[in-house]
């Protein structure tokens, strides 16, 4: 027999079988999918498997008490709705609760009457005091942190993470001040988000900001899957909501107050959508015009749940193919960021050592004196020579 045609036949048969089998695979998957989703609500579920929150209070000092209260209020809410402390990065100057001016030491209140102490007992501030800088914030988002930074200070997200980013402080047209010493611009945040997208560090981002002219801060975003909202439009101030006469300062900002009030009515299984939240904005009560930007966001707002960002999901997923890709990817990029530093620092260090040995001032007193006299006598010789030459 001719083995060749036979083998060819077998090969084609196999090929045909293979194609057939893949076809049946997809068909089967579709059937399974249909089986699982037939009773589900019409809302397409978000594709995320974990939730993160980055809460930034960019102000410090006692008279900015309300910004601290804003961030702590958000912290309390996301924690209540199920994001664990390990997934919350809280950046806070934290100089309000234990300020000597505080009439209630160790407490931070967000409303008059002191009903609810936001500081409580279970607060985990990840970046505190002077650590709240623009550089640290950008490094946190993009993952370009030094190797010594502990896990609690890293945003360990992947392409299945939904991130809620909340910022508050004093700002203006396309900038937000960080602790009266530096500013972050709308472009900086937009570029950081783009870098995160390229590094597959998020699935979706919900960006919320409460500051003066806040809506300008998200106007520069260009990366996909970002939903953004802010407290006031260009040329508009954001005002504080109320003042507590015992604390002696304003305790919360108007916009954040109404958002928090709305979120109080939501629990972990709530089906309220983002649209409901945005529709609830009342420019008269808030005393500014909050804005929403959803053109980068691919899902309809009425089908996006608030809990997609504020709540925590506990989906576990078994990943079979290329199991370590994402991990190594992010890992690799952070290594790339750090390597040059290490490479640079070494020779500098060596040079410093060499210089140190060269210029030792710690000789014994006699040598030192001899050196001094030596140099004086050199000058003396020069002078003597010059005088001699002149006389001659």
């Amino acid at each position: 027999m001719h083995p060749f045609p036979f083998s060819t036949l077998v090969f084609f048969l196999c090929l045909a079988l293979h194609v057939e089998s893949t076809n049946t695979d997809t068909a089967r998957e579709a059937a399974v999918h249909h089986f699982f989703t037939r009773n589900a609500p019409a809302v397409p579920e978000s594709a995320h498997t974990n939730n993160w929150a980055v809460l930034v209070c960019a102000s410090r000092y006692w008279f900015n008490y309300r910004h601290m209260a804003n961030a702590l209020g958000m912290y309390r809410t996301v924690k209540r709705l199920g994001i664990p402390d390990s997934n919350i990065i809280l950046m806070l100057a934290d100089d309000a609760a234990c300020n000597s001016r505080n009439h209630f030491p160790g407490c931070v209140f967000a409303n008059r009457g002191h009903a609810l102490d936001l500081y409580g007992e279970n607060i985990e501030v990840d970046y505190r005091g002077y650590e709240v800088t623009v550089e640290n914030f950008i490094r946190l988002l993009t993952g370009r942190v030094e190797p010594s930074v502990p896990r609690s200070k890293r945003l360990l997200t992947d392409d299945r993470s939904n991130i809620f980013v909340y910022m508050t402080g004093h700002g203006g047209d396309e900038f937000l001040k960080f602790q009266d010493s530096e500013e972050i611009s709308a472009f900086d945040i937009a570029d950081a988000f783009e870098q995160m997208w390229q590094k597959k560090r998020y699935n979706e981002i919900f960006f919320m900001i409460d500051t003066c002219q806040a809506n300008t801060m998200y106007s520069k975003f260009y990366s996909p899957n970002i939903l953004a909202t802010g407290s006031s439009q260009l040329g508009e101030n954001s005002y504080s909501y109320e003042n507590d006469e015992d604390v002696g300062v304003s305790v919360i900002d108007s916009y954040t107050h109404f958002v928090l009030e709305y979120l109080e009515g939501i629990n972990k299984t709530g089906t309220t959508s983002m649209k409901d939240l945005f529709d609830n904005y009342d420019p008269v009560a808030i005393r500014s015009h909050p804005g929403v930007r959803s053109d980068l966001f691919h899902r309809p707002l009425e089908q996006t749940l608030i809990t997609d960002f504020f709540g925590g999901v506990a989906h576990a997923e078994v990943i079979t193919d290329r199991p370590t890709e994402h991990y190594s990817h992010t890992q690799g990029s952070s290594d790339a960021a750090i390597d040059p530093m290490e490479k640079d620092s070494r020779p500098v260090h060596e040079l410093a050592e060499v210089l140190q040995t060269f210029s030792d001032g710690t000789g014994n007193p006699v040598t030192r004196l001899l050196r001094a006299w030596g140099s004086v006598s050199i000058i003396g010789l020069l002078i003597a020579r010059a005088i001699f030459k002149t006389k001659r």
């Binding site: 000092y61 008279f63 300020n99 000597s100 030491p105 006469e245 015992d246 002696g248 300062v249 304003s250």
Partner: protein, 668 residues
């Protein structure tokens, strides 16, 4: 530098020499390159008609020369009118609070009727101290004991300051309450002097401080230590306490050391409550040598007093025209011969009210006098004001005062850094409006500019003189000129011999110095005549010395009066403009008292005019000596508190007026 420019030599500092060098074989090869660059630059530039440019420049210069007198008198008049216009409401802006951290009037106050009751009891004790006629040391011990009873570390300080009129003795009491939750590197002061600025006793002010000490001890929200000071007498006690606080090594033997101390003092509130109750709280702000506290302190206090304390605020004790009892006060500001319909007019009233406030401010600031015990703090970079409880039959008392002080302290407690540096230059015209530096400074600067123009004009006049020209114009030019018969003039340069002029300047300043030494002497009172005569001798001596001097030997030298006037005006202008940033009121005073007399000094050929002018200048220079009360006070201020006004008048004002007198006394 007039004269017709018939032709022009084209010349450039980058040109002339190279033309010569290109001929010679120079050792430097760069010349050729420079030459080429030069030619390139010349190509780039449009070649305008230089002669026309020069003519135009000369025309402008001639116009300036011609109208110089109009210009400088115009500037002088504008400056003076501007000063008069300062009370107009159009120039003013509303007060606001610049520092975010202050957050005034946003706290609940905890000062209640129990504390008022305690203050009343303290008042009884303090009144009995006065009745028993205790010595100042005994009083101070009583205060220190009362502080200690509240659990606050306290101590006393003795001082004795020698002056020309005897020694000032006294004892201060003070206590330092350390803020429980801070490191104690910063502090605020609450003080009351034993004597009120009205001259009476400040019994209720002292009781308030004692009661506040007990009250504040109960709260832990202080970020700064609180220092309570009850100073003896009116100003000298506080002066002794402050100088001891800020010179820990104590080089000055006159004041005793302080046994306890705290950190850097940021703010001070001085309480002055002479009556038995009050209707308004008045703010006194002027410090030594014209220093002012930061405006934020005053503005915050106003907000707090009105909203928390419920007490209206006044400047000094001047009632506003809208308030019923004040109308008489403001009407009396205008002369009685003005018809009533003018005096009663609303705008006139408003102007009068503001003018009154500004005037009082000017008097304090120009003299460098502190308007209350708070004024001693400013020299140590402490913002301080006096809260003056304007005596009245009611309705306010310890309750409103205590709440206001507590709330003001809470506001100052909020401070994280020094108040903004930009808020030290202002003139407050009403409790809620003020003049920004841009709207008041130009007045004085205009006067200074007028003097500077005058001085420069005189300088040019000294160097150039216009004489008739003997030169006969050529036929061509006769045709060109429309009026050929007009007499030709030309300018010739003169030598400026500055030495004589400088001698006059130096002599006059020495005369000023000698007057200063004389009036600072202890024998001033007994031989009053002597101090009038001595300077008069000087001035006559100087005047005669230079009046009898033969006229300048040659026409080529500038006459002395012109040179002297030039120097005099330039120096005065510099002085006025420099003073204006340091102490505006003083600069305004100098602008008026120097600007006007110096502008009109001129030599005269007629003897009577000359003598009259000299007499006027002599009166201007020495007339103030007749105000013996003011002189005594100024000398006291200088010797005890280091106020610059007395030396400044003697060493600056008198010599300048004397120089103007010499200018007028000399033969032209």
């Amino acid at each position: 530098m007039s004269g017709r420019s018939r032709a022009v030599v084209r010349w450039s500092p980058w040109a002339g020499l190279q033309d010569k060098f290109t001929m010679s074989s120079s050792g430097i090869p760069l010349i050729g390159l420079v030459d080429r660059i030069r030619r390139r630059i010349r190509q780039l530039r449009p070649s305008g008609d230089i002669a026309a440019r020069i003519r135009k420049r000369k025309k402008v210069a001639a116009a300036v020369g011609k109208y110089l007198d109009v210009l400088r008198l115009g500037l002088l008049a504008t400056g003076c009118l501007w000063l008069l216009a300062l009370p107009l409401s159009h120039l003013q802006s509303g007060t606001y609070i610049d520092e975010n951290a202050l957050q005034p009037s946003q706290v609940n106050t905890y000062w209640d009727w129990g504390d008022v009751h305690r203050a009343d009891k303290f008042l009884q004790d303090v009144t009995s101290l006065l009745d028993r006629n205790l010595s100042s040391a005994e009083r101070a011990v009583f205060f220190a004991t009362e502080f200690a009873k509240s659990g606050i570390p306290s101590s006393t300080q003795r001082y004795s300051i020698p002056t020309a009129r005897g020694v000032l003795n006294g004892t201060n009491a003070y206590a330092i309450f350390s803020a429980p939750r801070t490191s104690g590197t910063e502090a605020v002061v609450i003080s009351a002097s034993w004597k009120s600025l009205t001259g009476g006793y400040n019994l209720r002010g002292v009781s308030t401080v004692l009661s506040l000490a007990t009250f504040m001890k109960h709260y832990s929200h202080w970020s700064k230590d609180i220092i309570f000071v009850i100073s003896d007498s009116h100003l000298d006690g506080m002066h002794a306490w402050l100088s001891a606080y800020h010179t820990p090594t104590n080089p000055n033997q006159d004041v005793g050391p302080l046994s306890i101390a705290s950190g850097v003092i940021w703010t001070a509130l001085n309480i002055d409550y002479p009556g038995h109750s009050f209707s308004h709280l008045g703010v006194f702000r002027e410090g030594l040598n014209g220093r002012l506290p930061n405006q934020d302190l005053i503005n915050s206090f106003r907000v707090i007093s009105q909203h928390t304390g419920g007490v209206p605020v006044l400047l000094y004790d001047h009632y506003e025209p809208s308030e019923f009892p004040g109308r008489e006060q403001i009407r009396s500001f205008f002369p009685t011969w003005l018809p009533d319909w003018i005096r009663e007019h609303e705008d006139v009233m408003e102007y009068g009210y503001r003018a009154k406030n500004i005037l009082r401010h000017f008097v304090y600031q120009a003299k460098g006098r502190a308007s209350g015990a708070h004024g001693l703090f400013h020299q140590y970079r402490i913002d301080a004001i006096t809260l003056f409880a304007v005596p009245s039959n009611g309705p306010h008392g310890f309750h409103a005062l205590g709440r206001t002080v507590e709330s003001t302290l809470r506001t100052m407690n909020n401070l994280l850094e020094r108040l903004h540096a930009s808020f030290f230059f202002y003139i407050i015209t009403t409790p809620s409006s003020f003049l920004k530096i841009g709207s008041y400074l130009p007045s004085v600067v205009l006067v200074a500019a007028s003097l500077m123009f005058g001085g420069l004009g005189e300088w040019v006049k000294a160097g150039w003189v216009e004489v008739k020209d003997e030169y006969m114009p050529s036929e061509k030019e006769k045709v060109a000129n429309a009026t050929p018969n007009s007499p030709k003039k030309k300018w010739i340069a003169r030598r400026r011999d500055l030495l004589d002029a400088f001698m006059v300047v130096v002599t006059s300043h020495l005369a000023g110095l000698s007057i200063f030494v004389v009036i600072c002497g202890e024998w001033l009172d007994t031989t009053r005549l002597a101090y009038i005569i001595t300077p008069m001798c000087w001035v006559t001596l100087v005047l005669f010395r230079f009046t009898l001097r033969p006229p300048p030997a040659s026409a080529n030298a500038a006459p002395l009066p012109v040179l002297l006037k030039a120097i005099n005006m330039c120096l005065a202008s510099t002085l006025i403009s420099v003073t204006s940033v340091l102490n505006f009121s003083l600069a305004a005073l100098l602008a008026i008292t120097l600007g006007v007399p110096l502008s009109f000094s001129a030599p005269s050929r007629s003897l009577p005019v000359c003598v009259t002018k000299c007499a006027v200048y002599a009166v201007l220079a020495f007339g103030w000596l007749a105000l013996s009360g003011e002189v005594t006070q100024a000398i006291w201020d200088w010797q005890v508190l280091g106020v610059w006004f007395a030396p400044l008048v003697c060493l600056i004002y008198v010599p300048f007026v004397l120089q103007a007198g010499v200018v007028s006394g000399l033969a032209p």
